[in-house]
């Protein structure tokens, strides 16, 4: 039982970081119906940027973290501004956007690899305040901070999406971009905002995970990218609570899989679950079925 609870805690911790990235992914999907394959790259970029700022300039870790958030959000914005917006203006088919994000992810991933090399890098843990024991279950401070950060961000985002003006504009855009534009909503601004948020979330999550494992490496982007898809689809693409729950579920599943089955197959198992879910309920846990318009 002790192992079970320990695994559960670990799973929720890692799952909450997946949830953060998934929220960004699902928000972009919501407003654009675009599968952003570069989302995982932003996550890796965020972690590497703060590592570089911290270790190369010796600046305060929190300042480095903060700057990296701004930079990654900026890259998210550029992704849209430089490429995707132009495609939208040309009314290009959706597939071109999808391929563009794949190209962007190749660019970001390989730039990082060329700049930092392909070996695993140590990542400083600024929250190494030790651990707490509850019964026989051990929770480290990093875990608590990750959970707290994720929870706070989720609350803030839910507030933003459901209670603020920009959130309303986002929801309008996701339902019908053309109508939103006619109602005076600046759709491009909404989309840019969404991309910035997805970049910021990815960056925060990347840093949290970096601290948690105390290493970063150049495969982390591709790996989180796929877990993001899994989380978002599990929960129902384009649905905010879906991404949160989906992320947690994927985190828990793979932690248990690693603990009880085999750590080698850890990544594969959540993907197999994903395929099974698609088989049974293609719209995901929280998604609603759409009617095909003729």
């Amino acid at each position: 039982m002790r192992v079970f609870f320990q695994q559960l805690i670990n799973g929720i911790t890692i799952g909450s970081t997946y949830a953060l990235v998934s929220i960004g992914f699902t928000m972009v999907f919501g407003v654009l119906e675009l599968t952003n394959f570069a989302n995982g790259s932003l996550y890796m970029l965020g972690a590497y940027l703060s590592l570089m700022l911290y270790s190369a300039t010796g600046m305060n870790a929190f300042l480095a973290f903060f700057i990296s958030i701004i930079l990654t959000g900026g890259v998210g914005y550029l992704l849209d501004r430089l490429a995707l917006r132009r495609l939208r203006n040309k009314k290009a088919p959706k597939l071109t956007g999808l391929i563009t994000t794949l190209g962007m992810s190749m660019i970001i991933d390989n730039t990082i690899m060329l700049a930092f090399g392909s070996e695993t890098k140590p990542f400083p843990n600024h929250f190494d305040f030790g651990r707490i024991e509850i019964g026989s279950v051990v929770i480290s401070w990093v875990q608590i901070i990750i959970l707290a950060t994720a929870l706070t961000l989720m609350l803030i985002l839910s507030f933003v999406v459901y209670k603020t003006k920009i959130g309303k504009a986002m929801r309008c855009t996701s339902q019908n971009a053309e109508a939103a534009r006619l109602m005076g909503i600046s759709v491009n601004r909404v989309i840019a905002f969404t991309f910035i948020i997805s970049g910021v979330l990815a960056c925060i999550s990347g840093n949290l995970v970096g601290m948690y494992y105390q290493t970063v490496d150049i495969t982390m982007g591709a790996s989180i990218g796929m877990k993001t898809f899994a989380s978002a689809i599990l929960g129902g693409v384009g649905v905010l609570p879906g991404a949160m729950v989906g992320g947690l579920v994927v985190g828990v599943i793979e932690t248990f899989a690693a603990g009880y089955i085999s750590s080698g197959y850890r990544d594969a198992i959540s993907f197999v679950v994903l395929i099974l879910v698609l088989l049974i309920k293609p719209s995901g846990l929280f998604g609603s079925k759409q009617i095909n318009k003729v």
Binding site: E33, T35, F37, A83, R86, L87, A92, P93, K94, L95, T96, G97, L98, I99, T100, L102, G103, M104, S105, M106, I107, D109, N110, T111, L114, A222, M226, F229, A230, I233, S262, G264, Y265, D267, A268, F271, V272, L274, I275, L278, L279, P282, N292, V294
Partner: protein, 331 residues
């Protein structure tokens, strides 16, 4: 461009003969091992690109995980020939069959879903396959890879020299080209193109969309599985890292660059992009970066790829039609 394409169409027969002559003469004109290796690799990528183009270009189902099926083919051939001493020819055929079977298994649940689900799942599937190859030690020897994969032999004829390998892949490419171009001329091909253009209208015309998607997915996996088997025996060593997401991306870039749904485009895409890193050796480490930039630029400027908008059959029909009506007017 239009004029140029008409020229190509007009002289298609001599051009085709020329291409065949060049392909056959190449290993004699450039007898060095290095050049023959480049030629062989180019042709292998042509075969891969042809198979992926069938799915991505002709049918419009964007796959980000084609390397998985190549890996399945390669591992099937390697395991059968090393562990079970199956004759190469049988192993080669089985490699295609097994890859096709996996296409069937994956296609059944996924091809009914919306396009982006399919794309995501193909990418994820590639990762699943890689993880399995990496961890199923008893079968695949995991990260160590499989070594000493025997050279192929058909009916007592052994393929050992680089030049023989070159001709083996040349024959495979010729057969694949024939399969793809025949298919696209046929009833099945019309159905496939209709599905690419408008799924709903295709269904209204009585086309069983799912069945044709399945056919293409299986055929495409089968062809790349055969290419994988060739790769295994050609390099005589395979490991999971040869069939990962990065390789899938390379294949996709080749298809899109050459032109979606254009067979000639597949040749151009595969050959030019596999020569590029060889020609610019210093840039070899930037290969993936360059591919990424290329992909983004293509989407902005020419999302269908170089020859994607060009349909040689239609150009020929219009040309002949024009000439006929001109003749009729003269008489």
């Amino acid at each position: 461009m239009e004029k140029f394409c008409e020229k190509l169409v007009r002289y298609r027969v001599p051009l085709l003969i020329l291409a065949c002559v060049v392909a056959v003469a190449f290993p004699f004109v450039f007898p060095s091992k290095y050049f023959i290796r480049i030629g062989t690799v180019c042709l292998m990528y042509v075969m891969i690109t042809l198979s992926l183009n069938l799915m991505v270009g002709y049918m419009g189902q964007m796959s980000f995980g084609h390397a998985a099926f190549m890996g399945i083919g390669a591992y099937t051939a390697a395991i059968l020939t090393t562990t079970y001493d199956v004759p190469f020819f049988v192993a080669f055929i089985l490699a295609g069959v097994v890859a096709g079977l996996f296409g069937l298994l994956l296609g059944l649940p996924v091809l009914k879903l919306k396009g982006y689900y399919f794309t995501i799942i193909t990418m994820v599937f590639c990762e699943i396959v890689r993880v399995v190859e990496l961890n199923w030690m008893s079968l695949t020897r995991g990260p160590l890879g499989i070594m000493a994969i025997p050279k192929p032999s058909f009916l007592g004829f052994e393929i050992t020299t680089p030049r023989q390998f070159y001709f083996m892949i040349l024959v495979l490419v010729a057969l694949s080209t024939l399969v793809v171009s025949n298919l696209m001329k046929s009833r099945v091909g019309y159905a496939i193109l209709a599905i690419r253009d408008d799924e709903l209208a295709a269904e209204a015309m009585g086309i069983h969309v799912f069945r044709y998607k399945m056919i293409v997915f299986i055929l495409s996996s089968l062809l790349v599985g055969l290419a994988g088997a060739f790769y295994a025996t050609y390099t005589s060593y395979i490991d999971p890292s040869s069939f990962a997401a990065a390789q899938s991306n390379d294949m996709l870039v080749m298809v899109i660059f050459g032109g979606l749904g254009n067979t000639v485009g597949s040749f151009i895409g595969a050959i030019s992009l596999s020569i590029l890193p060889e020609a610019l050796r210093d840039l070899a480490q930037y290969r993936q970066l360059i591919y990424g930039v290329l992909l983004v630029l293509l989407m902005m400027v020419k999302p269908q790829g170089l020859l994607g908008d060009i349909n040689f059959k239609y150009i020929r029909q219009r040309m002949e039609h024009r000439e006929k009506s001109k003749e009729a007017a003269n008489e």
